[in-house]
Amino acid sequence: MKRTLKAEETFFRILMNITTGIILIILGIIIYSVFEKGMKAMSWEMLTSVPSGGYYYGKGGGILNAIVGSLVLAFGATILAFLIGLPVALYMNVFLVRRKKLVNLIRFILDLVWGVPSIVYGAFGFTLMVFIGLQTSLLAGIITVTLFILPIMIRSMDEILRTVPIGLSEATYSLGSNKSELAFKIFTRQSFSGIITAVLLSFGRAIGDAASVLFTAGYTDNLPNSLMEPVATLPLSIFFQLASPVPEVQARAYASALVLTVIILIVSLFSRGLGKRYHKTKINF
C-alpha cells in the first residue's frame, strides 16, 4: 500500500516535471525559432523603408508602413478605449459602489464580451463600417479594435480600482468633494500604476490582433496619412508575406514576426516593471 503510493507519487512527480519542462521549452522554442528565422532576413532597410515597386517579388524595401501603421492604429484604439473605459471603470467603483448587484451584472457582461473571439469583432466591425458608410480605413480599424479591447481595458482597471480602500472615499467626501472629483482626482491617482498596466495590456492586445483588422483596416504600402485611408498592420503584413510563393518574401514575414514579437516583449517588460501583476481570474472560491 505505502509502496504503491510512493511509486505513484514518484511517477506523477516525474510527469509534472516533464509537463512543466515542456511549457518552458515550448516558450524557448517559440522565441528561438522566431529570432533565428527573423534575424536572417532582418536588415536596416526592412525597418526604415516602405515596400518598393518589386517588393513582393523579392526586391528592395521594408515594412515601415506596417510598423508605423500598427503603432498608430494601436495607439488610436488604446486612447479611444481609455477615454471610454476609464469613466466606466470609475463609474462602477465610485458611483455604483452600493449597487453590488448591478456592478456584478456589468462585470459579468464585460467578462462575456471579453470572451468573444476577435474575428467576431472583425465581422461586426465590417458590418458597422458598411452601415455608417466608411471604407476600409484607419478609422474603421481603430473603431473595431477599440470595441475588441474595451472589455479587457475596463475589467483590468476595475480589478485595480476595486482595491481602493473605502476609508479613502470617506475621507475625501468628508472634505466636501463630490463623486466625480473623488473618481477623477483620488481614485485615478491612487491606482495610477495599475491603470497604466491595464492600458499596456490592452495596447499589446491591440497591436497583436489580426482578425479584427483584416476587413476593417485594409492594407497599403504607404505610410498612414489620413484616418480615412487604409492602413497596413504588422500581423497582416506577416500573414500576407507568408502566403507569397517567393522565398525572399516569406523570409521577410519571419523578420516582421520578429519585429512584432519584440514590440510585444517590450510592452510586457514595461508593464512588468510597473510591479503589480494583474490576474484575471473569474473563479472565486
Binding site: M16, H279, F285
Partner: protein, 296 residues
C-alpha cells in the same frame, strides 16, 4: 473643462461616464443584433438545421452546408483541450504544491509572455516547427503521408496558445485553497500525495472544469494561428492528419471576395453569429456552474 464651475463639471463628467457605461452594457446585444440582422438573408431561405448539418458548400449555387467547418472547429478545439488540460493540471499542481515558492516567480512571466504572443506569431511558429514536425516525423511514424497542414497541427498550435490561459486560472485555484485544509488533511496522517489526490484535486474540481470550459470557448474562436496551419480544405476530416477548415478561418479567408454574392456575405455573418453564440453559451454556462457551486 475649466471654464465650467464645479457643479457643471460634475454633471458633464457623470453623464459622460453614464453614456460610456450604456455603450458597454449594450455591446453584447448590439453585437448579436447586428450579426443576426446580417445573417437574416441566409436564414430566410435556409433552415437552421440544413445550415448546420448539410455537407455541401457551394456559395455560387446557393448551397451553404456548414457541417465541414463546424466539425473542423470541433475537432481542433477538442483535441487542443485534450492536449493542454493534463499539461496545465500537472504543471499547476507542481508549481503550487511541490516546487519552491521562487519557481512561481519564474512561471508568472513565462505565462504572461506566452499569453501575450500574438496569434499570427503562433501561426508562424506552427509553420516553422509544428508543420514540418508532423510531415517529417509524426506522419511517417504513424504510416501516414501528410503535408503537415492538418487538424493535428492546428490542435497542437492551439493547445500551446490556450496553455497560459488555462494554467493561469488553475494556478490561482490551487493557490487559493486554504493552508488549513491541507493541515487538516495531513494531520489525519495522509501523505502529501494522498492529500493532493484525494483532497486538493476534489476541492479544485469545479474550478478545473470551469477553467477548461473557458479555455474551450477561447479556443473555438481562435482564428489566425489555426487558419495558417489547418490546411483550409473544405471536407469533413476523417483523421487528425487530414487537413480541415474551421469556422473562423472560413470568415477570415473569404471576406474580401464575397460582396458580389449577397447570400455569401450573409453566410459569413452567420458563421460569426455561430461563433458568438458558442462563446456566449460556454461562458454563460461556466458562470452559472460556478455560481451554483459556490452556494455550497
Amino acid at each position: 473643462m475649466y471654464l465650467l464651475n464645479r457643479q457643471q463639471r460634475h454633471v458633464v463628467n457623470s453623464s459622460w461616464m453614464l453614456f460610456s457605461l450604456l455603450i458597454i452594457g449594450f455591446l453584447p446585444f448590439i453585437l448579436f443584433g447586428g450579426l443576426y440582422f446580417k445573417s437574416f438573408l441566409l436564414l430566410k431561405t435556409h433552415t437552421l438545421k440544413d445550415l448546420i448539418f448539410l455537407h455541401s458548400w457551394h456559395p455560387s449555387r446557393g448551397e451553404f452546408g456548414f457541417y465541414p467547418f463546424i466539425l473542423g472547429s470541433v475537432w481542433v478545439t477538442l483535441l487542443a483541450i485534450l492536449i493542454s488540460t493534463p499539461i496545465c493540471l500537472l504543471t499547476a499542481i507542481n508549481v503550487t504544491q511541490y516546487a519552491k515558492k521562487r519557481f512561481l516567480r519564474v512561471m508568472h512571466p513565462v505565462i504572461d509572455i506566452l499569453a501575450g504572443i500574438p496569434s499570427v506569431v503562433y501561426g508562424v511558429w506552427g509553420i516553422l516547427v509544428i508543420v514540418p514536425f508532423i510531415s517529417r516525423y509524426l506522419g511517417p511514424w504513424f504510416g501516414v503521408q501528410t503535408m503537415g497542414y492538418s487538424i493535428l497541427a492546428a490542435a497542437l498550435v492551439l493547445s500551446v496558445m490556450i496553455i497560459p490561459f488555462i494554467l493561469n486560472i488553475m494556478i490561482e485555484i490551487f493557490r487559493t485553497i486554504p493552508t488549513e485544509l491541507k493541515e487538516a488533511t495531513l494531520s489525519l496522517g495522509a501523505t502529501k500525495w494522498q492529500m493532493v489526490k484525494h483532497v486538493l484535486l476534489r476541492k479544485a474540481l469545479p474550478g478545473i472544469i470551469a477553467s477548461v470550459g473557458f479555455g474551450l470557448a477561447r479556443a473555438f474562436g481562435e482564428t489566425m494561428a489555426v487558419l495558417m496551419v489547418v490546411g483550409n480544405v473544405i471536407k469533413v476530416p476523417h483523421s487528425v492528419f487530414d487537413p480541415g477548415y474551421t469556422l473562423p478561418a472560413l470568415i477570415a479567408n473569404n471576406y474580401g471576395e464575397v460582396l458580389s454574392i449577397p447570400q455569401y456575405d450573409s453566410a459569413l455573418m452567420f458563421a460569426a453569429l455561430l461563433l458568438l453564440a458558442v462563446s456566449l453559451f460556454f461562458n454563460l454556462l461556466m458562470h452559472f456552474f460556478i455560481a451554483r457551486y459556490n452556494k455550497y
